[in-house]
Subunit: 313 residues, 2 copies
């Protein structure tokens, strides 16, 4: 399998795991369902490693951080931790389950290591003026009014309100050097979980109540460690144009310019396919060899440029 | 300060942080109180690093894992995660706050890295037959009867029952090699949080519902990475004989044999000073140069053999 071009050995590859690759199709999820979904994803990742790819894993955390928010709100006498700390917790929650499943798939060979990761954002990022990212539980209007944080009406029904937080652009991964050295030495790393813990540099590092998009943060890491390839795993094999229409068309091998035109035409859903496409474009425009969006079972083929939506310079 | 013997440069030193070094004196703790306690501890650790010591940090997690148990029980419609996953969460919760405080103290110099750590226990450990370690919230007898896990009456009053879990002996740290290589390369590592996530090796790694004593797990790590010194930080400057009696006497420089005799005479409280003394003895008996028990403000002096209860071969 390793004979196709671009083959293994050309530099580390960064693989971002979307929520469905960690939890399965629909919630609520028991721990057994989570383990099953993670084990299935781990099999695809382990196969790529056994093919010779040096894999760095990142992952989302939306439902997990939402559950932690709901749980601590349900126990108001316990310490109510800010969002940055909860994001850190999800990094270990998911990282631990992933690393155990991967270590078992690689059975005694190499071990994965999960690294708590902070991601720097700019305190003057306009996102802080206009929090738009919904997190945590749904509230009634009366409940929302009493919350000590900003809420917005985000749906209909009895409980249409949710907390909204800023989703600023990531500018750097604090642990880049350490991750880079781990990867150079051949360690397998899980990092930048949930887009990383958002921090600002202001008399040192300081956590902020925000969430960073995991595809954006993954792109910054991938560029900064000089990854050769970036693969974003999600629940579909391709990004589509005219998605959901009778004439929807999967994008396979797509030039940078064409993909950017589709993006500018509003082809991709914000908060879903759009940040994935932006991450792929950003990666290739910053020197990456190949970026792809696909489903876990197509990971190996995507790394060889044979599956998924592929972008190259 | 670095001129005293044994001076810096003789190998990594492992420093274990007790609960009070992370949370302050008494709960309940707000996040601000936690940050303050952690920043104070970070100043002592940073000073030792600036003196030239290569520090590996470990830490406890008792109150933190208890809060996570209480929080998820308070939200029964959210996924109820097993204890191994919750221990992992506390590693990142505490590790993140510690690494941020330490990075700020070291201001732009070196960065700490927090590693999710699994600790292997023996599935035939007698602790699994007799769970004795209380974790999480207190229950009434009626509440305790309805719980899907083992509870015991551990105090008096209206809510004298708590969940009890096994506290087996740690036999190995899964990530030892990775931590060892990080340390060799000069990275500053936080690991083995809460005694590590307990796992058994049985067709691969599998998490178990248990907690591992953090001092015991720290000792295993310290021996296995060939640390020169082990310092266990707690809320007192010394271990005492006849503690709490009019003739209580602090132990300063204490030979291995004398300390073992005190231990066998039941001088040290189980679950408190006893595991610390056992860890110090085990470390020195496994080739360590110096082990000490003291309070955070005495860390530097203890590393130089000038403060705290010191044990050497």
């Amino acid at each position: 399998m390793g004979s196709k071009s671009p083959g293994p050995g050309a530099g580390p590859v960064v693989v971002a795991l979307g929520g469905n690759t960690l939890l399965g199709e629909h919630g609520p999820w028991t721990i057994e369902e989570q383990r099953d979904a993670i084990e299935e994803t781990a099999r695809s990742v382990a196969a790529a490693i056994q093919d010779g790819h040096e894999v760095v894993l990142t992952h989302g955390n939306g439902p997990q951080v939402g559950n932690l928010l709901l749980q601590q709100e349900s126990a108001p006498d316990t310490p109510q931790l800010p969002l940055d700390v909860l994001v850190a917790e999800t990094q270990a929650q998911i990282g631990y389950l992933l690393q155990q499943a991967l270590d078992n798939e690689l059975s005694g060979g190499r071990d994965f290591i999960t690294v708590v990761t902070q991601v720097v954002v700019d305190p003057t990022d306009p996102a802080f003026e206009d929090p738009t990212k919904p997190v945590g539980p749904f509230y009634t209007e009366a409940e929302a009014d009493e919350k000590p944080f900003e809420t917005r009406k985000v749906s209909s029904g009895d409980r249409p309100y949710r907390r909204v937080v800023p989703s600023p652009e990531p500018t750097a991964v604090v642990e880049t050097e350490e991750i880079d050295r781990l990867v150079e030495r051949g360690d397998l790393v899980i990092c930048v979980g949930g887009g990383g813990v958002p921090v600002v540099r202001r008399e040192g590092l300081r956590g902020v109540e925000a969430v960073v998009d995991k595809d954006r943060a993954t792109r910054v890491l991938a560029s900064d460690i000089g990854a050769s390839r970036l693969v974003i795993l999600t629940d579909v094999e391709f990004a589509y144009v005219n998605f959901g229409e009778p004439d929807q068309r999967p994008l396979r091998n797509v030039p940078v310019d064409e993909l950017r035109t589709h993006l500018e035409n509003g082809e991709f859903a914000p908060g879903s396919m759009r940040p994935k496409v932006e991450a792929c474009l950003g990666f290739v425009e910053n020197g990456g060899e190949l970026a792809a969006i696909t489903s876990p079972e197509n990971l190996e083929a995507a790394l060889e440029g044979r599956a998924g939506t592929r972008v190259s310079p």
